[in-house]
Symmetry: C2
Subunit: 459 residues, 2 copies
């Protein structure tokens, strides 16, 4: 059976594939907010049914949080574990969406049609590229090309609290030769990319407490400690004037990018101007002396993701609030240790508190170190060839600014290397209002997986 | 008729007076939020009916905002204009209230019983001290002691947008010999106080805009400008390390307190330790080199009243938000000009913006300069004697950290001096959850007004 028949079937089936994706997108499976837990169940059920429809022995597996979906097909040939996540980010601020985030539609844009809706790119659309490739194989050949374990989680956007225990309890069942992950972007539009290194992540959250109660800014303005001023002053000390994180010991384990890798990256097709201009920037704003690409892929960050306190309503309120709150994440590189970074950060804040101020920390937030992929394995070169064939452009090994903690757990718990191939674009607005996935990414993504599976099996 | 009969009637009537106050407190007349405008109408109607019940010719007067209540009684003798406001602050954060803010109850506390509820102290409870004193006079003597114009507004907590036009259009009707205002505190529990100077206020609000859309902190963390970091950095420049406002030209028009006045203040019964400790502070946090009292009464401030941006929900969201917001107020002293302060502040922010960041300002927020009362008028000494008699303790002329802009407008538009007498306490939690008014403040406040009116009439 030639791959061409499968690719041709994929082309014919695209309208139906889009309809199936829309069905999945209509389920508001926001994992971080307990109000949506029934919808996470519903998305898992939908996937179980869909996998069964192509002959996969699939089941929903309960956890203390949202369920996992596990499916098995075949018992011979190369064995891949395919990972994706069915949960999505919250949609706030809802008023900035131009359409219902959970009523996906196809929209024309200057760069071609897109599927608009929460999860279209991260990660339901990407996940379904693989499932649709399998469906095409099944339709045309009556079987799948190799032995496949499907593994979908529903807590990726909320720190994956059930992932490690589940992997540990089901390690024998989940073991394979290599893991495939579809949750990453292309370096630039049209440049097929395999992610070769990922940043890690550390999440934390703190509250600055000042007065015992909210105060009137007339009665206490002046003598009163204002937690909003206090938190601003402390956050302002997180970076120096060159954009470098000013927390002591923060950079322990950070290495400069080797010259040879830097040269490869400079030729990987990344378009700094488009990357910056597309979101309204004229220059990179990270550490001085590094390109936007290196700032994104190979330098650590300390970002404030949420900051609040006092009155946010209409009009004015003359209040000195009792508390101020900050959510933050650090992206980690090299050998940075999440626990050490957390300790350094907390010490930094505690050392800078004014008298009468105190800080409390949210203790439930996780961390994971950076990852570097094992690109010397033969599967990487086979996949690179398959992607180059599909996109008619040399595929590249690229860094990545995001964090996919699951790859680290696959290594540590299952002893599995991961290969990350994704078709998202920088302007997909993942985690933002008006998330989209290019129809081209979806269509050629499906074709790409068909070719990759073919090459992994028939090398 | 001796004052004693009136005071005795007040004592007998206290349970009924409390019931009437509770009725008024049950009306959620939050002026800053348009959702409550019908309740502002309802509070105004309640007051019109209550004034009519004691023989005052009262009416509700519509404005483009919330209505005024105006009432007249008598045509001879000294003529006072009594001012109060029936609107209240918002109640957020609602979850910090121990009871429904609009279901007032009497609670026992170590310092005696209190009336708990929004507006109990600011200003419905205080306003009703004067009305109840009038009611007692009417019951016992069949008339009121002097000529009185009652003037209640419903926009004091939202910048009084209708006040100036209303005063200008009705100046002839509202003119009197002196204005009485009951919206202030006692220097310390049990120390009757006439406020002799007030701080002014300038309100402003700004938004820092960074990227065109919310960004993913993996894709753009590093190269992306984060408005939450930007706003924190800028707010941190508002003060220097000695607690002084670091905005150029901010202190234009600020004068040091004259030595003689400072000496009076030092002996006025203000208890710095109680003032600070009662809300959780061990030391004053304003400008170095000034006592808490001077920081509160005679030094200007720049306070952040609201700060927000990014994700505030449960869990984590790896977002770099497009915007960050800040609400602020400055308390003004001496000859500080609100327009000049606003211009200086805006320039300060604009001069410090990073490339690719921009700022927008809310243009609807007002300002008013500081006020000094004309305490050489004979009415002040008569009131001081009346208060000293009631509280069995020498009454004092005190400064005040808050702002009562209406006194400035009475001077400018009606040519009226104001006398500010109030019975609130520092721990009343006005503008905060669990606002209260001591029953003693209410009871002795009513008796105090009866004595003051008696002294103003029969001197």
């Amino acid at each position: 059976m030639s791959i061409d028949a499968i690719l041709s079937h994929i082309d014919d089936e695209i309208p139906n594939a889009i309809d199936r994706l829309k069905e999945l997108l209509r389920i508001p499976s926001i994992s971080t907010d307990p109000a949506y837990s029934q919808h996470c169940q519903q998305a898992a059920d939908w996937l179980v049914n869909d996998l069964r429809s192509i002959g996969v022995e699939a089941s929903k597996r309960e956890t203390p949080g949202h369920p996992m979906v596990v499916g098995h097909f075949g018992d011979s040939g190369p064995h891949v574990l395919f990972y994706g996540h069915y949960d999505v980010q919250p949609v706030d601020p809802l008023e900035l969406w131009n359409s219902d985030p959970f009523d996906p539609q196809i929209e024309g844009t200057p760069n071609g049609p897109v599927i608009r809706g929460r999860g279209s790119s991260d990660d339901k659309g990407q996940l379904m590229t693989f499932v649709e490739a399998c469906r095409a194989y099944k339709s045309v050949t009556g079987t799948l090309p190799c032995r496949i374990t499907f593994f979908f989680e529903g807590e990726e956007e909320s720190g994956s609290p059930s992932l490690i225990p589940f992997l540990e309890e089901n390690a024998d069942e989940l073991k394979a030769d290599i893991a495939l992950v579809c949750d990453t972007s292309m370096v630039s539009p049209g440049v097929p990319s395999i992610s070769s290194q990922l940043r890690g992540m550390l999440k934390d959250e703190f509250t600055i407490h000042g007065p015992r109660i909210d105060l009137h800014s007339g009665h206490y303005g002046g003598p009163g400690l204002n937690p909003l001023k206090e938190i601003s002053r402390i956050i302002a000390t997180f970076h120096d004037e060159k954009g470098r994180v000013a927390v002591e010991n923060f950079y322990d384990g950070v290495h400069e990018v080797p010259a040879e890798l830097l040269r490869q990256w400079e030729n990987c097709g990344f378009d700094e101007e488009t990357y910056l201009n597309s979101v309204g920037f004229t220059q990179p704003h990270g550490e001085e002396g590094y390109s936007a690409l290196v700032q994104q892929w190979a330098r650590p960050t300390l970002e404030i993701n949420g900051l609040w306190g006092g009155y946010q309503g209409i009009g004015s309120k003359t209040v000195i609030p009792a508390e101020a709150h900050c959510k933050l994440t650090c992206r980690l590189v090299g050998d940075m240790d999440p626990d050490n970074v957390r300790a350094a950060l907390r010490k930094h804040v505690e050392d800078r508190l004014s008298p009468d101020a105190r800080v409390t920390w949210d203790s439930d937030l996780d961390g994971s170190p950076a990852s570097v992929m094992n690109i010397d394995r033969p599967e990487f070169e086979r996949a690179r060839q398959a992607l180059s064939d599909e996109w008619n452009r040399e595929a590249v090994f690229a860094g990545m600014g995001g964090s996919i903690p699951v790859t680290r757990f696959f290594t540590d718990i299952l002893g599995l290397d991961s290969m990350l191939i994704g078709f998202a674009q920088d302007d997909d607005a993942i985690h933002s209002p008006n998330e989209k996935y290019n129809v081209e990414s979806f269509h050629k993504g499906i074709r790409s997986w068909a070719r990759v599976m073919d090459k992994l099996t028939n090398y």
